[in-house]
Symmetry: C2
Subunit: 196 residues, 2 copies
DNA sequence: GCTTGATCTGAACGGTTGTTCATATAACCT
DNA sequence: AGGTTATATGAACAACCGTTCAGATCAAGC
């Protein structure tokens, strides 16, 4: 059999990516086989190669797509006046964006080491671009006299780690809504960079 | 050939664990083969099974040993008066401990999903025990009126994530010493839970 | 209605995986 | 010195890996 009813590139393509994303997030890139992905899609392993040149390209494409989306969404976000308001915007944006796509976030942090060097460099540059947005806010706030952040580089690392950590414990339908979580985190972030 | 000069269980055993720790940290549990570990030790793959029943037990033993060491060290640490001082102690202890053994920390966070369910439960219980120490400090500080932390559970997650994040960027011999890093993090932590 | 091209199957490729085991050797004990 | 035992080899096992490809099948275009 081949080309069973309704099968089509427009359908199978995204399904391959979805299955790969889910499986990579759950078991890890190295632990997931192409046959496993194919089974999830309902297809033989060979058919996957209509949609990706190889397994590595599939991982890279997922990460690349995610980072593109992240940067695009961030650049489209409003840019209020004042470092404090911009920091609040960053915090809320980051938490919302991360909690909306936990699997993509997860593999973006876990599977970096499974990227070939060239692919790794691309993703790493994108990540740096995003993180430097936060550092810039901290620098501005320091210059404005709104923050007390002697080492903005280090503080940006600390805050990013704290915010990204939400994904390790948050479960939809839990005790708190996303907005409540964002409120609490924003409160801690605000104080951590405040003067005094 | 077998039993080449000076080879001994007391020597090979730790070398197997060291090699596994290093390789798991660098490439990930699933991506590392027993033959790779054996090569690093300078031995054939079969010989590894004198030191571990199987690959899974090797991973579990590494994580288990690490968590035991963590809990033991924490319980041996001084317990000063007052929640503020105890929080400072936790922050400095955590940063120092983590930066002292980056590989063990790394696999403890990355390879949890590669543990069989029973093994996972053991490690998870240990981690919870450690993290609840922080939450207890926050609760005490809240009761003392020294902190403003409405949700201590959530705040403990946030702080742990922030502190553990140090390992992703810190490199020995860099711009800052461990103590300088700890100073900066403690300043942020202190403010983030302060009143105001 | 026939042809063309996209899509999939199913088998095959060489290579690697974790693990076992009979066998050999070197170090220790008496 | 001789016997015992821990320790290692190296070959073998079945299973699985990523990837390729000829051939089958279906949908669409003329």
């Amino acid at each position: 059999m081949a080309r069973t009813q309704g099968s089509h590139s427009d359908i199978t393509g995204p399904r391959v990516r979805d299955a790969a994303l889910r499986l990579f997030a759950q078991y890890g890139y190295a632990a997931v086989s192409m046959r496993q992905i194919a089974r999830e899609v309902g297809v033989q392993a060979g058919a996957l190669y209509n949609y990706t040149p190889d397994k590595q390209a599939l991982l890279f494409s997922l990460l690349r797509g995610h980072m593109d989306e992240l940067l695009e969404a961030w650049e489209a976000a409003p840019r209020p006046e004042g470092a404090v308001a911009r920091l609040e915007g960053f915090v809320r944006f980051h938490i919302r964006f991360n909690l909306d796509r936990p699997e993509a976030i997860f593999i973006s942090y876990m599977e970096l080491r499974n990227l070939e060097p060239g692919n790794f460099a691309v993703i790493e540059a994108q990540r740096k671009r995003y993180e430097s947005a936060l550092e810039e806010i901290l620098r501005d706030g320091q210059a404005e006299g709104a923050f007390s952040v002697p080492d903005t580089r280090l503080a940006s690392y600390a805050l990013i780690a704290m915010l990204t950590g939400v994904n390790t414990w948050y479960r939809a339908g839990g005790r708190l809504s996303i907005e409540e979580v964002a409120d609490i985190y924003w409160d801690m972030v605000r104080k951590s960079v405040a003067i005094g």
